[in-house]
Symmetry: C2
Subunit: 256 residues, 2 copies
Amino acid sequence: MVTLSNADIDFVKNYDPTLFPPNAVTADVILLTIRSGRLAVLLVERDKPPQQGSWALPGGHLDPHESITQTAFRELSEKTGLSAEPTHLEQLQTYSTPGRDARDEIMRVTSVAYLAFMPDPGTPRAGAGARSARFWAVDDLPEFNASLGSEEGPILAFDHSAMLLDGLERAASKLEYTTLATAFVDEQFTISDLRRVYEAVWRSQIDPANFSRKVKATPGFIESTGDKRATGRAPAGLYVKGDAAIISPPFFRPSL
Amino acid sequence: MVTLSNADIDFVKNYDPTLFPPNAVTADVILLTIRSGRLAVLLVERDKPPQQGSWALPGGHLDPHESITQTAFRELSEKTGLSAEPTHLEQLQTYSTPGRDARDEIMRVTSVAYLAFMPDPGTPRAGAGARSARFWAVDDLPEFNASLGSEEGPILAFDHSAMLLDGLERAASKLEYTTLATAFVDEQFTISDLRRVYEAVWRSQIDPANFSRKVKATPGFIESTGDKRATGRAPAGLYVKGDAAIISPPFFRPSL
DNA sequence: ACAAAAGTGTTGCACGTACACCCATGA
DNA sequence: TCATGGGTGTACGTGCAACACTTTTGT
């Protein structure tokens, strides 16, 4: 990837990392899915300090020979025991404010947050370093205009509430101009399934008639399989994801 | 910011950073401005290995007690001697692919790229670690559909071409739905000044009549001062930035 | 037969684009 | 007075929101 000059080779040979202040780099993953029509996020209950016993996003340290994206995938699978990989994973933002982690007194911890989507993967299993792992409906979390739902969720550890807030905004805005809603549904899905993704992420009602027309009119968003699924009453057409990545013109979420 | 339990305090006291593989965290800044109607980026000629002698984005190491955003501001001023600060600076993305920096053999280098805008600040001065510093018109860089212009620019060091490409796309897309074009012009500006920002960043022609109407119709985008500037021929109204951050409905760039 | 969900038709309105036109100024 | 750029007027097309209406099935 990089061409090394002789000067570079000499330089690297004599490079002493201990001369630099210590740093840690971690990846944290905001994995979103739709459960019973509600947007849900995967959290783990921490089993080690710092913040032992509190709930946090799954994540962990960068290994020397992997990219930070690989860290995100690996930590997600190690901490939560999910067998399937997310259908979409993208980098969100990096968080480095001093004091965001107790270890900052000794060694700065810089955290790269990732945003991931997948269809409901069922119940996760707590992995290494986690006391338990489960999905929480986002609006059961008290920090996110809470408790329209039944359960009362936890307050998040570290600055993970800020990360989640940023992730939710990114998710809502990406549905406007990309076809990423398909990352939340199974391989075969109905247009109503897709509409329920939009409704959950945008927390708003969408006119089924206009939604259906618009999705079908967007080239490459969905492809018909010809089959039908006997879902509730009338059978709905089954579709698979098309090959377009962006929607133009975009969908707009109601301006609130 | 974080409340520490007794367990956390004990944990941090006994924390040994040397048990972890060494990491470096750096910030690199893509500073864009408009010069003679063309989009330009600030580059420095490196005066130390690695990649000594080649051109790169200004940047450097995270200090133990600053946020990575502060690193970006500090390195920009140290390396390029700019007296004014950018009028806009936002985090772009983090780059950590193994092999992106020669030092990765010894210590992983994770780089947080920032995107910054400002009105033309004049000629920069090379600072510590830089042999020289100057603005290059983006389309004089051979990797960016080059040489409509006169000069032939350099190939960038490390993965800085990828960063710049991502930054240009982000800048173009942000002009669609935010009022950030005002970050490129002086405090007082004409509507044509603002239009030339859009034309430089989008590399396209815009109808002056429709542009003027749309800008004035967007609440909070610009505020009239009542003054006029005798620019070319007829005097143009002078405006200042309004207090809105987002444009709705957005402007759309021509779909190419 | 009826309820519920899928999907079609139709209308009005808001907005963007294109382009003709007028105005103010300095050379 | 003419060239240049700032600015207004206007007509056309597109596309979406709203909502009435038809179709299809399971109970």
